[in-house]
């Protein structure tokens, strides 16, 4: 609200600035440097200007084709998991018990998948989905559904999506639950007196109150699914073929697999730029959501 202007506050912020600058700015400079060069091993570098960037945005080249294809897959993946996780998270939050010891139990179980290391999440689903030793794969195959995430593209996609729903729906649910908890009882009593239907209560009271947390949930889930690497890498390794190779997987392949530093750096910059733009939108919307806008005057 009425914060005092005090330039000395920079001293308070300085440690954070130093730590993050060390981890962010120095590496970023390296990336920018590499992105303009080509390497032929032996640490010999050649000036390549904006060549990599041109190639990156041109689908007819190898690099561009791979980048744009993985970008497309990644956007499709993000869209699907958002379409499942957000409604499911809301339903789960609405289904939470109201009081008693069951609340604590539900909260702990909900939070559990969030604290499992990402590669173990991959391992869990890798085992769970295997047709020979996994409960899911075995059951599906016994039921006569030919399910094999290693060789079938559709099954690989389904596994990765169900895994993400398993892993992250809790985050949406917990955020929505926190939003619901902040609604005073008086609102519900008023609704009861008015004889409002359940749907009306949801639409007029609960949904508007969850607006802010839902916004955060959607944007966080978008960002994190856009950067997803470990879980699909462990389960499918990006296959079968390239069907589950998302942008991060492609990037790590080029950077640490082929050591093609120039291409990897150019890809990194474009990738980071996309994230930065979405992040800026996120930040602007977030900071404006807290401020009550003055009502517009009608007529002009």
């Amino acid at each position: 609200m009425d914060k005092t202007i005090n330039q000395k506050a920079w001293f308070l912020v300085l440690p954070v600035f130093a730590v993050v600058a060390f981890s962010a700015i120095l590496p970023l400079m390296t990336v920018v440097n590499y992105s303009m060069q080509d390497t032929f091993g032996n640490n010999q570098f050649f000036w390549n200007g904006v060549g990599w960037f041109k190639e990156l945005l041109d689908p007819s080249t190898d690099l561009g084709g791979r980048f744009l294809a993985s970008l497309g897959r990644n956007l499709l993946f993000s869209a699907i998991i958002l379409a499942i996780e957000v409604p499911l998270g809301i339903v789960v939050a609405l289904s939470m018990p109201r009081e008693g010891w069951t609340v604590a139990v539900c909260l702990v179980i909900l939070a559990l998948p969030l604290l499992i290391p990402w590669n173990v999440v991959g391992t869990i689903w890798q085992i769970f989905g295997r047709p020979d030793i996994g409960l899911l794969g075995y059951t599906l195959n016994t039921l006569g559904i030919d399910y094999n995430y290693v060789s079938n593209e559709f099954d690989a996609w389904a596994t990765v999506i169900v895994m993400d729903v398993w892993h992250w729906t809790s985050l949406v649910a917990l955020l929505c639950y926190a939003g619901l908890k902040s609604i005073p009882d008086a609102y519900y009593q008023a609704a009861q007196i008015d004889g409002a239907s359940r749907w009306a209560v949801f639409k007029a009271i609960q949904l508007p109150k969850m607006n802010r947390v839902l916004l955060i949930a959607v944007l966080l889930r978008f960002m994190d699914s856009f950067m997803i690497y470990t879980e699909p890498f462990v389960v499918t390794g990006g296959g079968p073929g390239n069907s589950t190779t998302f942008v991060s997987i492609e990037l790590v392949k080029i950077a640490l697999g082929q050591f093609d530093l120039g291409k990897a750096a150019a890809l990194s910059l474009v990738y980071n730029l996309i994230i930065l733009i979405v992040c800026w939108v996120f930040y602007t919307v977030m900071t404006n959501a807290g401020v009550e806008r003055p009502a517009k005057k009608g007529g002009a």
Binding site: A9, V16, T30, P117, F128, L180, S248, A255, Y271
Partner: protein, 268 residues
């Protein structure tokens, strides 16, 4: 009142969906490899602790847990220590470039780890920190420090300004005020921030794996290597996986009453 029809059924089904894959992992960790491969059993018919025994007696396995916990702890301490003053600064004062700085911090929370893997490798090799817990701890600061600042700023803003002013009138110096008054007041906030720092550092694999080779290898990296090299030792893999879930489960149990509040701030 804030409930929907059939809510017990929905929540039960969802919790079962969450627990079933975890149960399967626990189930397999108590089986022998022969039982896993030959038969499909819903619970271990010949329960064995052999898989766990191998992990606890083989140094190359259990050192992974120690390495992981070491860098997670270092990272949590660094993140909270540098984030506390900054959170106070952002919460109380306006200064040149404060909004831009905040946005820049936030953008680092969102930066893909894959982008930083290679430059970090070069950077930490150059300063001789490669393959130490410090390299991983510092690298994880890039997303945990902004997060800690973000969470703590919310909690500091919840403390009325009058408390600061009264303390300074009573002759408290700034550091003394900070340690004696502010920190105890936002203790639960520090707990929530530490919880999230622990969580994100514990679950991250890509950077931790890139920045270590032998001495500081995290448990998750040791697991991935075993999958490819030893082939099909599923029981051992499952036991190692179960052991990585336990620290997280313990942490959740201790902070369960604060989780909802931490999320309520909407700052994750």
């Amino acid at each position: 009142m804030h409930s929907i029809p059939g809510r017990r059924l929905i929540i039960s089904l969802f919790l079962i969906f969450l627990l079933l894959p975890i149960y399967w992992l626990v189930n397999m960790s108590f089986k022998t490899n022969a039982e896993i491969v030959t038969t499909m059993t819903l619970w271990p018919h010949q329960p064995t602790l052999e898989n766990y025994r191998r992990i606890f007696t083989d140094e190359s396995w259990y050192s992974g847990y120690i390495n992981s916990l070491t860098y997670v702890m270092i990272n949590t301490v660094i993140s909270i220590a540098v984030a506390l003053p900054a959170a106070y600064g952002f919460s109380r004062y306006r200064f040149l470039g404060d909004k831009h700085l905040f946005f820049w911090l936030l953008s680092n929370r969102m930066a893909p780890a894959a982008v930083f893997a290679l430059p970090f490798f070069n950077l930490y090799s150059a300063i001789n920190l490669f393959d130490t817990p410090w390299a991983v701890a510092l690298a994880h600061c890039i997303f945990n420090v902004p997060l800690a600042v973000w969470i703590l700023e919310g909690f500091v803003s919840g403390v009325p300004r009058e408390i600061d002013e009264t303390a300074f009138l009573d002759g408290y110096s700034f550091p003394r005020f900070f340690v004696k008054i502010l920190v105890p007041l936002i203790a639960s906030g520090i707990g929530v921030a530490a919880f999230f720092c622990f969580m994100f550092s514990w679950v991250e694999l890509l950077l931790a794996r890139t920045l270590t080779s032998v001495n500081a290898k995290p448990i998750s990296a040791i697991m991935t290597r075993t999958v490819s090299a030893a082939g099909m030792d599923w029981g051992l893999l499952a036991a190692a996986g179960v052991l990585t879930i336990i620290p997280g489960a313990l942490v959740i149990w201790f902070v369960r009453n604060y989780i909802a509040r931490g999320f309520a701030l909407g700052r994750v």
